[in-house]
Protein backbone atom coordinates (compact mmCIF):
# COMPACT_ATOMS: atom_id res chain seq x y z
CA UNK A 1 0.00 0.00 0.00
CA UNK A 2 1.43 3.39 -0.91
CA UNK A 3 0.90 7.09 -0.72
CA UNK A 4 1.32 7.61 -4.46
CA UNK A 5 -0.10 4.37 -5.84
CA UNK A 6 -2.40 1.54 -4.90
CA UNK A 7 -4.73 0.96 -2.01
CA UNK A 8 -5.77 3.94 0.09
CA UNK A 9 -5.91 2.68 3.64
CA UNK A 10 -3.85 4.47 6.24
CA UNK A 11 -3.70 5.43 9.88
CA UNK A 12 -4.05 9.14 10.52
CA UNK A 13 -2.26 10.96 13.32
CA UNK A 14 -2.19 14.53 14.53
CA UNK A 15 1.14 16.15 15.31
CA UNK A 16 0.72 18.11 18.52
CA UNK A 17 3.96 20.07 18.46
CA UNK A 18 4.93 22.89 16.13
CA UNK A 19 8.39 22.34 14.62
CA UNK A 20 10.90 24.72 16.21
CA UNK A 21 13.12 27.17 14.32
CA UNK A 22 16.06 25.40 12.72
CA UNK A 23 13.98 22.25 12.57
CA UNK A 24 14.78 21.57 8.94
CA UNK A 25 18.49 21.01 9.50
CA UNK A 26 17.99 18.93 12.63
CA UNK A 27 15.17 17.07 10.88
CA UNK A 28 17.39 15.66 8.14
CA UNK A 29 20.21 14.88 10.55
CA UNK A 30 17.82 13.01 12.78
CA UNK A 31 16.19 11.25 9.82
CA UNK A 32 19.60 9.94 8.74
CA UNK A 33 20.48 8.92 12.29
CA UNK A 34 17.35 6.80 12.42
CA UNK A 35 17.50 5.57 8.84
CA UNK A 36 17.15 1.89 8.13
CA UNK A 37 20.11 -0.39 8.76
CA UNK A 38 20.41 -4.11 8.07
CA UNK A 39 19.49 -6.46 10.87
CA UNK A 40 22.45 -6.75 13.26
CA UNK A 41 22.61 -10.52 13.41
CA UNK A 42 26.08 -10.33 15.05
CA UNK A 43 24.41 -8.66 18.03
CA UNK A 44 21.77 -11.37 18.17
CA UNK A 45 18.99 -9.22 16.71
CA UNK A 46 16.29 -10.58 14.47
CA UNK A 47 14.63 -7.36 13.29
CA UNK A 48 15.39 -3.80 12.28
CA UNK A 49 13.30 -0.66 11.67
CA UNK A 50 14.19 2.63 10.03
CA UNK A 51 13.48 5.30 7.43
CA UNK A 52 14.22 5.08 3.70
CA UNK A 53 13.48 7.20 0.66
CA UNK A 54 9.84 6.70 -0.26
CA UNK A 55 9.30 3.91 -2.70
CA UNK A 56 12.82 2.45 -2.48
CA UNK A 57 13.52 0.28 0.56
CA UNK A 58 17.24 0.11 -0.32
CA UNK A 59 17.81 3.86 -0.59
CA UNK A 60 18.75 5.57 2.66
CA UNK A 61 20.31 8.66 1.08
CA UNK A 62 17.81 10.91 2.82
CA UNK A 63 18.21 14.57 1.87
CA UNK A 64 15.82 17.49 2.09
CA UNK A 65 15.34 17.53 -1.67
CA UNK A 66 14.41 13.88 -1.68
CA UNK A 67 11.96 13.93 1.21
CA UNK A 68 10.33 17.36 1.00
CA UNK A 69 7.42 17.48 -1.43
CA UNK A 70 6.10 20.87 -0.40
CA UNK A 71 4.23 20.99 1.99
CA UNK A 72 4.66 17.27 2.61
CA UNK A 73 7.51 15.25 4.01
CA UNK A 74 7.41 11.84 2.34
CA UNK A 75 9.46 8.86 3.52
CA UNK A 76 9.01 5.13 3.96
CA UNK A 77 9.39 3.09 7.12
CA UNK A 78 11.11 -0.21 6.46
CA UNK A 79 10.94 -3.17 8.81
CA UNK A 80 13.05 -6.28 8.26
CA UNK A 81 12.43 -9.45 10.18
CA UNK A 82 14.51 -12.60 10.14
CA UNK A 83 12.39 -15.62 10.81
CA UNK A 84 13.73 -19.13 11.00
CA UNK A 85 10.98 -21.64 10.20
CA UNK A 86 10.38 -23.84 13.26
CA UNK A 87 10.71 -27.07 11.25
CA UNK A 88 14.07 -25.99 9.85
CA UNK A 89 15.30 -25.08 13.34
CA UNK A 90 14.17 -28.44 14.67
CA UNK A 91 15.82 -30.39 11.84
CA UNK A 92 19.16 -28.55 12.15
CA UNK A 93 19.08 -28.82 15.92
CA UNK A 94 18.58 -32.57 15.77
CA UNK A 95 21.40 -32.92 13.24
CA UNK A 96 23.84 -30.91 15.38
CA UNK A 97 22.84 -32.78 18.51
CA UNK A 98 23.52 -36.12 16.83
CA UNK A 99 26.93 -34.85 15.69
CA UNK A 100 27.78 -33.58 19.17
CA UNK A 101 26.74 -36.78 20.88
CA UNK A 102 28.74 -38.88 18.40
CA UNK A 103 31.83 -36.71 18.84
CA UNK A 104 31.59 -36.70 22.63
CA UNK A 105 30.47 -40.26 23.14
CA UNK A 106 27.73 -39.03 25.46
CA UNK A 107 24.25 -40.48 25.41
CA UNK A 108 22.42 -37.20 25.93
CA UNK A 109 23.05 -33.47 26.42
CA UNK A 110 22.20 -31.78 29.67
CA UNK A 111 19.81 -28.83 29.82
CA UNK A 112 22.55 -26.21 29.69
CA UNK A 113 24.20 -27.84 26.69
CA UNK A 114 20.88 -28.03 24.83
CA UNK A 115 20.13 -24.39 25.51
CA UNK A 116 23.56 -23.31 24.28
CA UNK A 117 23.26 -25.55 21.23
CA UNK A 118 19.85 -24.12 20.30
CA UNK A 119 21.14 -20.56 20.60
CA UNK A 120 24.10 -21.40 18.37
CA UNK A 121 21.99 -23.17 15.73
CA UNK A 122 19.48 -20.28 15.70
CA UNK A 123 22.30 -17.79 15.28
CA UNK A 124 23.81 -19.75 12.39
CA UNK A 125 20.47 -20.07 10.61
CA UNK A 126 19.70 -16.36 11.07
CA UNK A 127 22.98 -15.47 9.38
CA UNK A 128 21.96 -17.55 6.37
CA UNK A 129 18.33 -16.42 6.19
CA UNK A 130 17.05 -13.64 3.93
CA UNK A 131 15.03 -11.09 5.90
CA UNK A 132 11.38 -10.48 5.25
CA UNK A 133 11.23 -6.86 4.02
CA UNK A 134 8.15 -4.70 4.59
CA UNK A 135 7.94 -1.03 3.69
CA UNK A 136 5.22 1.46 4.61
CA UNK A 137 4.81 4.95 3.25
CA UNK A 138 4.64 7.85 5.65
CA UNK A 139 3.41 11.32 4.73
CA UNK A 140 3.59 14.33 7.01
CA UNK A 141 1.68 17.49 6.08
CA UNK A 142 3.94 20.00 7.79
CA UNK A 143 1.40 22.84 7.68
CA UNK A 144 -1.79 20.97 8.64
CA UNK A 145 0.02 18.90 11.26
CA UNK A 146 -1.28 15.56 10.05
CA UNK A 147 0.80 12.42 9.69
CA UNK A 148 -0.27 9.34 7.78
CA UNK A 149 1.15 5.83 8.03
CA UNK A 150 0.13 3.49 5.23
CA UNK A 151 -0.75 0.63 7.55
CA UNK A 152 -3.44 -0.09 10.12
CA UNK A 153 -1.56 -2.94 11.81
CA UNK A 154 -1.63 -2.35 15.57
CA UNK A 155 1.87 -3.71 16.22
CA UNK A 156 3.41 -1.63 13.47
CA UNK A 157 1.59 1.48 14.60
CA UNK A 158 3.16 1.16 18.05
CA UNK A 159 6.61 0.78 16.50
CA UNK A 160 5.95 3.76 14.23
CA UNK A 161 4.80 6.01 17.09
CA UNK A 162 7.91 5.12 19.04
CA UNK A 163 10.20 5.68 16.04
CA UNK A 164 8.67 9.11 15.28
CA UNK A 165 9.27 10.20 18.86
CA UNK A 166 12.85 8.89 18.80
CA UNK A 167 13.57 10.54 15.45
CA UNK A 168 12.00 13.97 15.90
CA UNK A 169 10.80 14.19 19.50
CA UNK A 170 7.32 14.99 18.22
CA UNK A 171 4.19 14.10 20.10
CA UNK A 172 1.63 12.45 17.86
CA UNK A 173 -1.82 11.17 18.71
CA UNK A 174 -4.05 8.88 16.65
CA UNK A 175 -7.01 10.55 14.98
CA UNK A 176 -10.16 9.67 16.91
CA UNK A 177 -13.28 11.54 18.04
CA UNK A 178 -11.48 12.79 21.15
CA UNK A 179 -8.33 13.96 19.38
CA UNK A 180 -10.30 15.76 16.67
CA UNK A 181 -11.56 17.96 19.51
CA UNK A 182 -8.24 17.93 21.38
CA UNK A 183 -6.26 19.39 18.48
CA UNK A 184 -8.51 22.45 18.45
CA UNK A 185 -6.90 23.14 21.85
CA UNK A 186 -10.05 24.46 23.48
CA UNK A 187 -10.30 23.17 27.03
CA UNK A 188 -14.03 23.93 27.30
CA UNK A 189 -14.83 21.82 24.23
CA UNK A 190 -12.81 18.91 25.58
CA UNK A 191 -14.50 19.18 28.95
CA UNK A 192 -17.96 19.35 27.32
CA UNK A 193 -17.16 16.26 25.29
CA UNK A 194 -16.01 14.29 28.31
CA UNK A 195 -19.17 15.26 30.16
CA UNK A 196 -21.52 13.72 27.57
CA UNK A 197 -23.24 10.37 27.81
CA UNK A 198 -24.23 8.05 24.93
CA UNK A 199 -27.50 9.13 23.32
CA UNK A 200 -30.59 6.99 23.11
CA UNK A 201 -32.07 7.36 19.64
CA UNK A 202 -35.09 5.21 20.42
CA UNK A 203 -36.44 7.17 23.37
CA UNK A 204 -36.73 3.95 25.37
CA UNK A 205 -34.77 5.40 28.27
CA UNK A 206 -37.25 8.26 28.64
CA UNK A 207 -34.47 10.82 29.08
CA UNK A 208 -33.21 13.72 27.02
CA UNK A 209 -29.78 12.26 26.36
Amino acid sequence: MGAFHGNLTYSLYFVLDEPEAGFRERFIESLRTHAFRDVDVEAGKDRSLGWTVMGDPFDVDLTWERVFFDPYVVVSLREDTIKVPPNALKAHLQKRERELLKASGKERLDKGERTALKADVLDQLRRRALPDIRSYDVVWHTVEGTLRLWSTNKRLKELFEDHVEKTWGLRIVPAAPYTYVMRRAKADEEAAMLGLDPADFTGASGGDA
Binding site: T9, A175, P177, Y178, L196, P198, F201, T202
Partner: protein, 181 residues
Amino acid sequence: MDLADRLVNTGYLGRELLTWLWFKSDKQQGLIDPGDGQGAIEVSIVDRVTLAGLGQGADRVAVKAEDPGSTAEARMALKEGKKVEQAMLRIVRDQREWRANVKGDTLGLSGIKIPALLTREEDDRAQERLVLIDLLDGLIAGLFSTFMVVRADPELWTAELAAMRAWVLGFDEPDTGEIPD
Protein backbone atom coordinates in the same frame (compact mmCIF):
# COMPACT_ATOMS: atom_id res chain seq x y z
CA MET B 1 -8.09 9.80 32.98
CA ASP B 2 -5.19 9.21 30.60
CA LEU B 3 -5.34 9.72 26.85
CA ALA B 4 -5.94 6.05 26.07
CA ASP B 5 -9.01 6.02 28.34
CA ARG B 6 -10.33 9.22 26.80
CA LEU B 7 -9.99 7.77 23.31
CA VAL B 8 -11.96 4.68 24.32
CA ASN B 9 -14.58 6.50 26.39
CA THR B 10 -15.48 8.96 23.63
CA GLY B 11 -15.41 6.54 20.70
CA TYR B 12 -19.23 6.25 20.87
CA LEU B 13 -19.46 9.82 19.52
CA GLY B 14 -18.08 8.60 16.21
CA ARG B 15 -20.90 6.05 16.00
CA GLU B 16 -23.38 8.78 16.82
CA LEU B 17 -21.88 10.93 14.05
CA LEU B 18 -22.46 8.14 11.52
CA THR B 19 -26.00 7.59 12.77
CA TRP B 20 -26.63 11.34 12.58
CA LEU B 21 -25.31 11.40 9.00
CA TRP B 22 -27.80 8.69 8.12
CA PHE B 23 -30.56 10.83 9.63
CA LYS B 24 -29.41 13.89 7.69
CA SER B 25 -29.17 11.87 4.51
CA ASP B 26 -32.79 10.79 4.92
CA LYS B 27 -34.19 14.12 6.02
CA GLN B 28 -32.32 16.77 4.04
CA GLN B 29 -30.87 14.88 1.09
CA GLY B 30 -27.64 14.54 3.03
CA LEU B 31 -26.72 18.21 2.51
CA ILE B 32 -24.49 19.22 5.38
CA ASP B 33 -22.19 22.18 5.84
CA PRO B 34 -18.79 20.93 7.09
CA GLY B 35 -17.94 24.44 8.27
CA ASP B 36 -15.00 25.09 5.94
CA GLY B 37 -16.54 28.12 4.30
CA GLN B 38 -17.14 26.37 0.98
CA GLY B 39 -20.78 25.47 1.34
CA ALA B 40 -22.68 22.26 1.90
CA ILE B 41 -21.55 18.83 0.77
CA GLU B 42 -23.71 15.82 -0.04
CA VAL B 43 -23.25 12.85 2.29
CA SER B 44 -24.91 9.46 2.03
CA ILE B 45 -24.39 5.91 3.25
CA VAL B 46 -23.89 3.52 0.36
CA ASP B 47 -23.06 -0.15 -0.23
CA ARG B 48 -22.80 -1.28 3.37
CA VAL B 49 -23.55 -0.35 6.95
CA THR B 50 -22.92 -2.18 10.21
CA LEU B 51 -24.92 -1.44 13.34
CA ALA B 52 -24.03 -2.66 16.79
CA GLY B 53 -24.89 -2.20 20.42
CA LEU B 54 -22.31 -0.90 22.90
CA GLY B 55 -19.78 -3.12 24.61
CA GLN B 56 -17.70 -6.13 23.62
CA GLY B 57 -19.71 -9.06 22.38
CA ALA B 58 -22.62 -6.82 21.37
CA ASP B 59 -24.95 -8.00 18.60
CA ARG B 60 -24.00 -6.80 15.20
CA VAL B 61 -26.12 -6.30 12.07
CA ALA B 62 -24.29 -5.89 8.74
CA VAL B 63 -26.27 -4.85 5.69
CA LYS B 64 -25.05 -4.76 2.10
CA ALA B 65 -27.28 -2.94 -0.37
CA GLU B 66 -27.08 -0.03 -2.76
CA ASP B 67 -28.91 2.08 -0.18
CA PRO B 68 -28.42 0.14 3.05
CA GLY B 69 -30.09 2.81 5.18
CA SER B 70 -33.42 2.20 3.48
CA THR B 71 -33.49 -1.54 4.24
CA ALA B 72 -35.84 -2.94 6.84
CA GLU B 73 -32.96 -4.82 8.45
CA ALA B 74 -30.92 -1.68 9.11
CA ARG B 75 -33.94 0.30 10.31
CA MET B 76 -35.00 -2.45 12.68
CA ALA B 77 -31.50 -2.55 14.15
CA LEU B 78 -31.67 1.19 14.77
CA LYS B 79 -35.11 0.83 16.36
CA GLU B 80 -33.63 -1.81 18.66
CA GLY B 81 -31.13 0.72 19.95
CA LYS B 82 -28.10 -0.14 17.87
CA LYS B 83 -25.96 2.61 16.34
CA VAL B 84 -23.87 2.74 13.19
CA GLU B 85 -20.55 1.07 13.98
CA GLN B 86 -19.15 1.57 10.51
CA ALA B 87 -20.46 2.69 7.15
CA MET B 88 -19.34 3.32 3.60
CA LEU B 89 -19.81 7.05 3.09
CA ARG B 90 -20.23 8.73 -0.25
CA ILE B 91 -19.26 12.40 -0.14
CA VAL B 92 -19.79 14.76 -3.06
CA ARG B 93 -18.57 18.34 -3.44
CA ASP B 94 -18.51 20.31 -6.69
CA GLN B 95 -19.33 17.15 -8.63
CA ARG B 96 -16.24 15.35 -7.26
CA GLU B 97 -16.93 12.18 -5.32
CA TRP B 98 -15.08 10.41 -2.52
CA ARG B 99 -15.99 7.11 -0.91
CA ALA B 100 -14.60 5.74 2.34
CA ASN B 101 -15.47 3.11 4.85
CA VAL B 102 -15.57 4.94 8.19
CA LYS B 103 -15.25 3.20 11.55
CA GLY B 104 -17.21 5.11 14.14
CA ASP B 105 -15.07 4.39 17.20
CA THR B 106 -11.92 5.83 15.67
CA LEU B 107 -13.20 7.72 12.59
CA GLY B 108 -10.56 5.64 10.80
CA LEU B 109 -10.93 5.38 7.03
CA SER B 110 -10.32 2.42 4.77
CA GLY B 111 -11.09 1.35 1.24
CA ILE B 112 -10.92 4.97 0.15
CA LYS B 113 -11.79 6.03 -3.37
CA ILE B 114 -10.85 9.55 -4.42
CA PRO B 115 -12.04 11.53 -7.43
CA ALA B 116 -10.30 10.92 -10.75
CA LEU B 117 -6.99 12.77 -11.04
CA LEU B 118 -6.98 15.67 -13.46
CA THR B 119 -3.23 16.29 -13.84
CA ARG B 120 -0.93 14.42 -16.22
CA GLU B 121 2.67 14.68 -14.98
CA GLU B 122 3.61 11.98 -12.49
CA ASP B 123 4.84 14.37 -9.79
CA ASP B 124 1.75 16.54 -10.18
CA ARG B 125 -0.49 13.47 -10.01
CA ALA B 126 1.25 12.31 -6.84
CA GLN B 127 0.71 15.69 -5.25
CA GLU B 128 -2.89 15.86 -6.45
CA ARG B 129 -3.54 12.45 -4.88
CA LEU B 130 -2.22 13.67 -1.54
CA VAL B 131 -4.30 16.85 -1.77
CA LEU B 132 -7.45 14.84 -2.46
CA ILE B 133 -6.70 12.64 0.55
CA ASP B 134 -6.22 15.79 2.66
CA LEU B 135 -9.55 17.11 1.44
CA LEU B 136 -11.32 13.92 2.45
CA ASP B 137 -9.79 13.96 5.93
CA GLY B 138 -10.73 17.63 6.20
CA LEU B 139 -14.33 16.88 5.25
CA ILE B 140 -14.59 14.10 7.82
CA ALA B 141 -13.14 16.45 10.44
CA GLY B 142 -15.60 19.14 9.36
CA LEU B 143 -18.59 16.79 9.57
CA PHE B 144 -17.56 15.70 13.05
CA SER B 145 -17.06 19.31 14.11
CA THR B 146 -20.50 20.28 12.77
CA PHE B 147 -22.04 17.34 14.62
CA MET B 148 -20.26 18.21 17.88
CA VAL B 149 -21.53 21.81 17.77
CA VAL B 150 -25.02 20.37 18.03
CA ARG B 151 -24.16 17.43 20.26
CA ALA B 152 -22.39 19.43 22.92
CA ASP B 153 -25.08 22.14 23.14
CA PRO B 154 -27.88 21.02 25.50
CA GLU B 155 -30.61 23.06 23.76
CA LEU B 156 -29.58 22.21 20.23
CA TRP B 157 -29.16 18.56 21.11
CA THR B 158 -32.55 18.26 22.83
CA ALA B 159 -34.24 19.43 19.62
CA GLU B 160 -32.02 17.34 17.33
CA LEU B 161 -32.49 14.22 19.44
CA ALA B 162 -36.27 14.66 19.40
CA ALA B 163 -36.16 14.89 15.61
CA MET B 164 -33.96 11.79 15.38
CA ARG B 165 -36.25 9.83 17.68
CA ALA B 166 -39.27 10.81 15.60
CA TRP B 167 -37.36 9.64 12.51
CA VAL B 168 -36.55 6.28 14.08
CA LEU B 169 -40.09 5.77 15.34
CA GLY B 170 -41.45 6.69 11.94
CA PHE B 171 -39.73 3.78 10.17
CA ASP B 172 -42.24 1.37 8.59
CA GLU B 173 -42.58 -1.96 10.33
CA PRO B 174 -40.80 -4.69 8.39
CA ASP B 175 -42.92 -6.85 6.08
CA THR B 176 -43.18 -10.19 7.87
CA GLY B 177 -44.92 -11.84 4.91
CA GLU B 178 -47.89 -12.75 7.10
CA ILE B 179 -51.30 -12.51 5.48
CA PRO B 180 -53.65 -10.40 7.61
CA ASP B 181 -56.92 -11.94 8.77
